[in-house]
Symmetry: C2
Subunit: 428 residues, 2 copies
C-alpha cells in the first residue's frame, strides 16, 4: 500500500455503497454497506482502505493528516448526472411571470424560455461563461456534489456550442469539481432555423459533431426528443451519427408528452433516458430489456408546478437502476442541490432515503461510465467524499432546504468547508 | 440622531418594505419600496436612516463601522410566524417508513407521530432541549430568519409544557435569534388522557394556563382544532380562557379537513388562523370580515406528499394580509428555511416573489404584534437584516435548495456569516 496521506476518522456512519460493483435496482438498506464508527485511509487522490476506526487508526503513520468527522456521516460525493450549468443571465423575470400566472408555453411564445438563455449565452464570451458558472460550482460543492454531467445546448450554432464546451472543459481543468461534458446541440431549434428544421439537423450532424469530437470536447451526445422539439426520426439520426463518432448517448425522453423517447432510447441502447414523466409501462419494459438507466429529474417537475412525477416505484419494481439528478438549469429546474432532490424523491416519488442515495451516487456514476472510479467509497476509487453535518444519513432527505455538507473533498483535496463559517457576536 | 455605529452600503437592492405601516394584502412590487444602490445607517440595535449610498455615506463619521454588501441585496430578516423548534430526537425513522409507503395515520396508530416526539421530549431535561434546539437556531440564521414564533406542545403535562417554554425563554435570552413564545398545550391529547378528553381540557385551562401566564412564559396561545384532535367546542373553551388571561390567540385551522377552525378564528377574532388547506370561500370571507391573518405553511403540504396547498390567490384576492411560515417541526415539516417557503409559495401557490417576501417579513411581524419593531427596514425599527448572496431579490424564491444568506444581523449584531467559509486547496 502506498504511504497514507490522509485519514478520515470518527464517522458515525461511513456510507460506502460498496458491495455489488454495478448499478442497483432499488437498493435495499444493506446495500449502502454502512460502517458504523467508520474511517477511511487515502493516498493522494485515491482511497486505500475503508474500515472501522480501530482498523484504520492502526495504519496511520507520521505525516498522515487526520480529519476528525466529529461523529458525523461520511458519504461519497453526489454524482449529478444531468445538469445545464453553463449559461449567461438568469430567468428570474420569467419565474416571476409564471408565478403571476403565465404558462411556460406563453412565455416561450413571447421569446422567453430556452431561447432567452440562448440569446444571452451567444452574447457572452467564453471567459464570461466560466466566471458566471463558478457561482453554481460553489453551490454544487456546498451541496455535497463532486461530479456533474454538464451539457451544452444554449449556443445552437457551431461556434457557440464549441464555446460552451470549452468553458466546461476549463471549469473541469480548474479541478475543484469534476465535469463530464455532453454535447446537446439538439436542445432546441435556434430562432434562425425555425423554418428550416432539416438544415439544422444537418448542421448538428455534419458540422457540430465532427468539430466537437475532433477537439475532444464531449463524452456524450444528448437530444431533446419531444413532440414540438426534435422528433423521434430527427433524434435517431443525430444520436446514430454521434455513436458512429464514438460518443456515448443520452436522451431527454417523454418529459412533456409520451413522444417515443424512451422507446428510441431502448432501440439505440443509450446509456440513459432522462425525465420520463410520461413514459408508460411499455416504455419502462423496453428500457429494462435494453439495459438503459432512467435519470429522474424531480426538481423540474416541482419547479414547473406540476405534480406528474416519473413513476420511480414502477421503474424500481421493473429492476431498473434508477439515477436521480438535479437538471440544474435557469428555466425549469433552478436548483443545484442533490439533497433537495433526495427530499423530492422521498416525499413525492416514495423512494426510501437508501434508494435515493444509491441513485444519486453509484448508479449515477455508472450512467456516466465512471462506475469503476466514482460513486462509492472503496479501495482504488477516487477520494471524492463529503462529511455531512448530521449523524444519520437519512437526515439528508428528511430535513430539506438546508445545506448539510460540512466539508467536500474532491480527489482527496478539500474543495469546500463550512467549519468556522458561523461567527457570532453573541458568544453562543 | 444618535451617533451612527454601523453603516451598510453598496446594496444592489435595499428591500425596505417601508410604506404603508400595516400588513398588506397581496403586495404589489412597488410596496417592497426597493432602494437601488441602497444603504442604511444604524445606531446600536436600531435603524436610524435608509437611503441611497450617496445619502448615507455623507453621514458616516469616525468610529462608525462600515459593512460593504458588495452589490448584493439586503432585506429585513425573515419573521417565521409558526414553528415548533424545541423537541428531542428526530423522526427520520418515520420519514423513512412514509417514503416506503406507510401513511401518517398508520404511523400514528403505531405510536408514532406527535406522540413519539412527546415521549422523547418528556424524557429530556430543559438543558437538553436547549442544546438540541441550538442546531435548528443555526439553520434559521443561515436561512436569513431573525425571529421565530416558537410553540410548546410536545410536553402535554404541566411540568413538561413549562419546561419547553422555559427552554424557549432561555434560547431567546441567548440573543442570537428572537423567539416569540406560544403556549400549545392543546397540540394533542397525551396518551394518558386519551379516554379522558374533558379532563385534559380542564388541565390545560385550569392548571397549565395559570402557570404559563403567571410565570410570563408565553405571549400567545394556540390550539390544534381538527376533527380527531380538539373539537371546535374544546378549542373555543381553551382560547377563551387564554384570552381572559391576556394571551394573544392563534389557531391550527382546517389543516386536514374543513373542521370549522377558520370560522372559530373569525368568531374569536384571533390574530391568526394557520394552515387553512381545506378552508372554503365562506371561511375566507369570515377571516376577512374579522381581520384575522392567514398563516400559510406550504412546507408541510410538500413534506406530507400532498398537493392540496391553501388557496393563497383567493385569500389575497379577498384582501387578506397573508403570512408565510415554515411550520418547522420533526414530523410534517422538517424545514427551517424561509427561502424554501418562498419557492413553494411561488411554484405551488402562484404567489409572486414580491407577495411572498411581504408575507414572510412585514405581514408576519404584524401577526406577532411586532409590526412596529420588526419586519421592515425603516428608521426606529430594530436592525434585523440579511445580506443575501445575489443581486436580485427574486433569486431568493427562484433558485431553491440553496442557502442564500451571506450575513445575518439581529439587533445590529452579526449572528451568522458565511464570509470566508469556502476554503479550497484548488486556488480557484
Amino acid at each position: 500500500m502506498p504511504t497514507p496521506t490522509l485519514a478520515v476518522v470518527n464517522c458515525s456512519q461511513l456510507v460506502t455503497l460498496a458491495g455489488a460493483r454495478r448499478p442497483r435496482c432499488g437498493a435495499e438498506l444493506r446495500e449502502l454497506a454502512i460502517i458504523e464508527d467508520g474511517a477511511m485511509l487515502l493516498s493522494g487522490d485515491t482511497i486505500e482502505r475503508v474500515g472501522t476506526r480501530a482498523e484504520i487508526e492502526s495504519m496511520v503513520g507520521g505525516g498522515c493528516e487526520v480529519v476528525d468527522a466529529g461523529g458525523r456521516v461520511c458519504l461519497p460525493g453526489f454524482v449529478d448526472a444531468h445538469t445545464h450549468p453553463v449559461f449567461a443571465g438568469t430567468r428570474a423575470d420569467e419565474f416571476e411571470r409564471r408565478a403571476a400566472g403565465a404558462t411556460y408555453q406563453e412565455i416561450a411564445a413571447a421569446g422567453g424560455g430556452i431561447r432567452a438563455t440562448v440569446r444571452r449565452t451567444r452574447e457572452a464570451t467564453e471567459d464570461e461563461l466560466v466566471v458566471a458558472s463558478r457561482r453554481f460550482r460553489e453551490w454544487f460543492l456546498r451541496g455535497g456534489t463532486t461530479t456533474v454531467e454538464a451539457k451544452s445546448g444554449y449556443g445552437l450554432s457551431v461556434d457557440d456550442e464549441l464555446k460552451m464546451l470549452r468553458a466546461i472543459g476549463r471549469l473541469n481543468d480548474e479541478g475543484a469539481l469534476r465535469y463530464v461534458p455532453t454535447f446537446l446541440g439538439a436542445h432546441d431549434f435556434p430562432e434562425e432555423y425555425r423554418a428550416r428544421r432539416e438544415e439544422y439537423v444537418a448542421l448538428v450532424v455534419e458540422e457540430m459533431l465532427p468539430r466537437v469530437v475532433g477537439e475532444g470536447l464531449a463524452e456524450f451526445c444528448d437530444v431533446f426528443c419531444e413532440a414540438r422539439v426534435f422528433t423521434v426520426e430527427e433524434s435517431r439520426r443525430i444520436l446514430a451519427a454521434a455513436r458512429s463518432r464514438g460518443l456515448g448517448l443520452r436522451v431527454h425522453a417523454d418529459q412533456l408528452s409520451l413522444s417515443g423517447g424512451a422507446l428510441l432510447a431502448a432501440e439505440l441502447k443509450t446509456s440513459t433516458a432522462d425525465h420520463l414523466e410520461h413514459t408508460d409501462a411499455a416504455g419502462v419494459a423496453a428500457l429494462k430489456a435494453a439495459d438503459v438507466q432512467p435519470v429522474l429529474l424531480p426538481g423540474s417537475v416541482y419547479a414547473l408546478g406540476s405534480s406528474r412525477y416519473p413513476a420511480a416505484r414502477e421503474m424500481i419494481g421493473a429492476g431498473l437502476a434508477v439515477v436521480l439528478a438535479t437538471d440544474f438549469n435557469p428555466g425549469s429546474s433552478p436548483t443545484p442541490s442533490m439533497t433537495m432532490v433526495l427530499s423530492l424523491a422521498s416525499t413525492q416519488m416514495k423512494m426510501t432515503p437508501a434508494e435515493a442515495i444509491t441513485a444519486a451516487t453509484v448508479n449515477a456514476a455508472y450512467s456516466l461510465g465512471r462506475g469503476r472510479e466514482l460513486g462509492s467509497l472503496e479501495a482504488t476509487k477516487r477520494a471524492d467524499f463529503v462529511i455531512h453535518d448530521c449523524a444519520d444519513y437519512r437526515d439528508l432527505a428528511y430535513f430539506f432546504g438546508v445545506e448539510h455538507a460540512l466539508e467536500t473533498y474532491v480527489g482527496g483535496r478539500l474543495a469546500f468547508s463550512r467549519r468556522g463559517a458561523t461567527k457570532t457576536q453573541h458568544g453562543v
